[in-house]
Amino acid sequence: MAGAFAAPVLSQELLLTIAEQIKLPLLQIARQAEIARLASLPNLDDIQATADNALRLIDNYVLSVRLSCEQELLEMESVSVSSVLYDAGQELSSLAKSYGVNLELHIGGRFGPVMANRLGLQSALVSLGSALIEALPAQESPQLKLQLATHRCRYGIVAGLYSDTEQFTVEALRQGRKLQGSTRQPLTGLTHTAGAGIFVADAILNAMQLKLKVSRHNRLYGLGAVLQPNHQMQLI
């Protein structure tokens, strides 16, 4: 299986990005514990949300590697996008609350099933969402609102995350992919962190032969995956 291990998802760059990123939740937990000791008022909700976020990032990274290396895990199935978005929103809700971000679900119309690996798609959206939730207050977004949304486009059905900040550009994403692993902050216009969640989402989608793309939804800006409708299921 030497060929499988050459998959880009196992890159040293992504591993470095994860290592850099994981310092943030660990630092948050350490300081939350210290302030709790000093003030005798532990904020257990924030500590739990932070720890859960770190664990999710590691889990999603492991999934991206396994999906790339173990093809039998990568079963494509007929998936309802709206239910995946709903579940991703549930997973992200406590982190969003900690960061004061208003997370909304927006399904613009009825969509038939798409072809994807359900676990992979949900993990990609959760990874992406975690990274954007952390970044939104730092972008000084006026509304602190993040939409998990889906819409139809020329190439298929897009599922992604959107906000009112304009920093989501094709160039920013291209530069970020290039700088990943060689700089501490590859997406300088998007996030103050290493942006590992974005690159993990990218890796998971790549493993499913999908692409993370800059996208717009209504008047919002964001990142999303273009999914192919399952026409066979729509006939039934």
Partner: protein
């Protein structure tokens, strides 16, 4: 006690540091970006700045150059508390101190709140 401008992009960490500084008797204004920090400095006239270098858009170093270009602010002490290890600025520490008003540099992952408060107490000017 001092009026502190805290430039920290991470919302959770900013809340923790604000809480710690306020419990030590300081007044704190938080900003997440270099641009809003300049506007805030103009408004509140801080006695001290605590700065992260990794910001969205303009970096903390860009903020320092801009901040230090105003004569009124040149004597305001700046403490850097950053995810960037101090070793990366080893060659330019003299410049940070002499030209940009940096009094201390802390590597954030290894700096306790207690150490930060001690440094604030050391460098903050005494304000009635």
């Amino acid at each position: 006690m001092a009026q502190i401008l805290l430039v920290e992009p991470d919302r959770l960490l900013a809340d923790i540091y604000r809480q710690a500084l306020e419990s030590a008797g300081h007044r704190v204004v938080m900003c997440a970006s270099a641009q809003s920090a300049i506007f805030a400095a103009d408004e509140i006239k801080p006695d001290m700045v605590i700065l992260e270098l990794q910001l969205i858009g303009h970096s903390g170093i860009e903020f320092l150059y801009e901040f230090h270009s105003y004569p009124d602010w040149q004597n305001i002490p700046v403490l850097i508390q950053s995810h960037v290890p101090a070793g990366e600025f080893a060659g330019s520490w003299g410049m940070l101190q002499q030209q940009l008003g940096v009094r201390a540099y802390f590597y954030k992952p290894l700096t306790t709140i207690r150490a930060l408060l001690a440094s604030v107490a050391e460098f903050a000017p005494v304000v009635a």
